[in-house]
């Protein structure tokens, strides 16, 4: 079973991985693999592919543990970034079809920002709903500009401008 994030020392486990102790990687896996798989599956929309991504992510964690620098960000954040970028590289390299199960997945995709605490969610609340949807579809679903434009029925140029301005607003809000 995984512990609440605040009770699990991610950094100590990464440091122990760096010393070659397999059990630390196992503990990180037990702690975080369901959430990492959730993130990967939402991006690549296929369970087997998502498991491949998480597999590759844990190998990267194992190999990269000694180079991990806690000054650059949290150990937990590092694990998520690593997994997201593997999945994003995959979907961009394989330029996913816009058709297919796109609409079905998108419609079941619910965003309940209010159920989540944290600064980013408060800042998102301040964006107009359509602009907020652009940011969430991009980050959580891995939609490209074109996919977001298709999904929202909004011109591509407008989507690009919305995203650019929303990111600026988020940076100002979050500091």
């Amino acid at each position: 079973m995984s512990l609440p994030e605040t009770l699990f020392d991610y950094e100590a486990h990464i440091a122990t991985c760096a010393r070659g102790e397999r059990q630390a990687l196992r503990d990180l896996y037990v702690q975080e693999s369901p959430r990492l798989l959730g993130v990967a599956k939402r991006l690549v929309r296929d369970t087997a592919l998502a498991e491949d991504i998480v597999h590759d992510a844990f190998i990267k964690i194992w190999k990269g543990a000694a180079q991990f620098d806690p000054a650059r960000g949290s150990a937990r954040g590092w694990m998520f970034s690593l997994t997201r970028h593997l999945a994003l590289n995959f979907i961009r390299d394989n330029s996913r079809e816009i058709q297919g199960d796109f609409d079905e997945v998108a419609d079941t995709a619910t965003f309940d920002a209010q159920a989540h605490s944290g600064r980013i969610h408060q800042c998102l609340e301040q964006l107009e709903p359509a602009r907020r949807a652009c940011i969430l579809h991009a980050y959580v679903d891995g939609y490209s500009h074109a996919e977001i434009s298709h999904k929202l029925g909004t011109p591509l140029g407008t989507v690009k401008a919305w995203i650019k301005r929303s990111l600026t607003a988020l940076r100002e809000c979050m500091g």
Partner: protein, 239 residues
């Protein structure tokens, strides 16, 4: 190698970093960013900041339980990864590697004794409230001790003389939980004992991170660590 466009402004760089982290860049631009990240500390620092800002959104995806085979696959692959043998890993160790800690504390004890002697000469009795042992990230050998007798000033004490390449300098950094990024405490010469006032920073906290990185002789050009970590440790409150 893809080098950065010569006319790129910091705003354009931050925009690129933000869309890289958000995920909206094309495959081609993603590859370019990933290549530039290897040797552009400014871009790396911008990407790191965006990763921290947006991380909270990852929770929205919802967890998905992996199949029972996934761990076995990972374990098999890990067995095939060849790693340079680590001298510490070869020994039988408990969860935390105690030897360097004790070595460090022994060094700190010696340093504290010397300091106490010095303090007795100056007729002051001060008890350290925080202690940090800075160890090498790979070999965990202690190199420096930091002690603070009040949360507003720290002493950095070398446990030996270390080698720094002629064209490089050691820069001292700290970051407490919840800070956006590390803050520079200035350049440090190998073997130098330093007293550093923390008057521009919040008081010391337990678990506060300290590190020494290898930077250019004038220090990091961007105010964030860019070079490899030489020594690292966290503050422990002394009871």
């Amino acid at each position: 190698m893809i080098s950065k466009p010569t006319n790129e402004t910091p705003e354009e760089r931050d925009e690129l970093a933000s869309e890289y982290v958000l995920g909206t860049l094309s495959a081609e631009l993603r590859t370019q960013v990933q290549q530039r990240l290897r040797d552009e500390p400014e871009l790396r620092s911008a990407v790191d900041a965006w990763e921290r800002r947006l991380l909270g959104l990852a929770d929205l995806a919802g967890p998905h339980t992996p199949s029972p085979h996934l761990w076995q696959r990972i374990e098999r692959s890990v067995n095939n990864v060849t790693r340079p043998p680590s001298p510490i890993a070869a020994q039988s160790l408990s969860w935390w590697n105690l030897l360097p800690l004790w070595r460090g504390l022994a060094g700190a004890g010696l340093a504290a004794t010397l300091l106490l002697g010095a303090l007795m000469l100056t007729q002051t009795t001060v008890k350290p409230t925080y202690l940090v042992v800075l160890v090498g990230p790979q070999d965990k050998a202690p190199g420096w001790v930091i002690q603070a007798s009040n949360p507003r000033e720290i002493q950095l004490i070398p446990l030996g003389v270390i080698e720094v390449p002629a064209d490089k300098a050691l820069e001292f950094w700290t970051k407490a939980d919840g800070w956006q990024g590390p803050v520079s405490l200035g350049l440090v010469k190998p073997g130098q004992t330093l007293s550093i006032p923390l008057d521009k920073l919040p008081p010391l906290q337990p678990n506060q991170l300290f590190e020494l990185t290898l930077e250019n002789p004038q220090g990091s050009p961007i105010g964030k660590p860019t070079g490899p970590i030489q020594f690292i440790g966290r503050a422990v409150k002394v009871i």
